[in-house]
């Protein structure tokens, strides 16, 4: 079963429709937010701005960086050397994150997890998907990565090393997938459209039908 999501349906439906009275955790979260605002420790505009960044800005950055790496080998070399500095060339700030880009090759397939919590390159990819934060993914991907990949519809040959990265400290990871055959003439924009967030975590690989 292929789960190769294109960039456009990458983002799960975000329900803004109110579905009845808020639950206790929502009330708790709002209460904390309002108290902090009243104490002047945070501003409502900051919350608003952060939500906008997560909704509209961060999720689009990863594909842009990878498309550029695919079309510009010198940029790719700089990306592998110093992730933050390279993405800054595209006007992207990694904020507090330290980025390591890991490159897929015919010999190596990379896969990212944070077993201890849900560390993720949020400034580059937005919010992690629910499966990434799930206990089942976090527990299993480190000791049975190939079985996990199969659940995402991805089979990696035994001739290719599967390299799992447990992002347990200060570094954050993005997978640089292999550029699919058949895209040699494609523009950076077309390549961006091909890429999904799942490709950049390593659970699926981009292919051209």
């Amino acid at each position: 079963m292929s789960q190769d999501h294109s960039h456009n349906d990458d983002h799960a439906p975000q329900t803004d429709v109110k579905e009845g009275p808020p639950g206790e955790y929502e009330i708790l979260s709002r209460a904390m937010q309002e108290i902090l605002e009243e104490k002047g420790l945070i501003k409502a505009e900051q919350i608003q701005k952060k939500m906008e960044l997560y909704d509209e800005d961060y999720p689009n950055r990863g594909a842009k960086v990878v498309a550029k790496a695919w079309t510009d080998p010198e940029f790719k070399a700089r990306l592998l050397e110093n992730g933050n500095k390279a993405v800054a060339e595209l006007g992207i700030s990694m904020e507090a994150d330290h980025l390591i880009a890991v490159e897929n090759t015919p010999e190596v397939h990379n896969l990212i997890v944070c077993t201890l919590c849900s560390c993720y390159p949020r400034s580059l990819l937005g919010m992690p998907p629910t499966w990434y934060k799930s206990r089942n993914y976090r527990s299993r991907v480190v000791h049975e990565p190939r079985s996990v990949l199969s659940e995402f519809g991805t089979e990696i040959s035994n001739d290719t090393t599967v390299r799992v990265h447990d992002s347990n400290a200060d570094m954050r990871y993005v997978v640089l997938p292999m550029r699919p055959e058949g895209t040699e003439d494609w523009s950076a924009e077309q390549l961006e459209e091909l890429l999904s967030r799942d490709h950049l975590v390593g659970v699926t690989v981009p292919v051209v039908d």
Partner: protein, 128 residues
Amino acid sequence: MSVTPPLPQPQKGPHDVGGEEAGEIDTIDQGMNFWQRQANALRAVAIANNIIVLDELRRTAEDLGDDYARLAYFEKTTTALRNLFVEKDIIGENELTAKMDEIRARFNVPDEMESSIKKDTTNKGSAS
């Protein structure tokens, strides 16, 4: 012949799940609703404003004991955040209870025009 106590098992936190057996993964991203996106922003802004440190928040989540596995992701993170704010005396327990009652009342009041509790909640995503 005396019986020695059993070998102690190393304690590990409920979060330290790498390597455990677990079930099938739901490979579809279920996304976030409005309050969850707002809660995520609250966490990010609290850290950016140096009110709390990310490591502290991870630790209060890890200290949730049996609740860690029981709670859904945003329930976990919201509880961890609450525990941290109260621990650091940034928000008092009574203050929090009062504010939660106030918020609940906003949703219970049948005629919102008459409520004296109702405030402008444009940025707070209320039902109004």
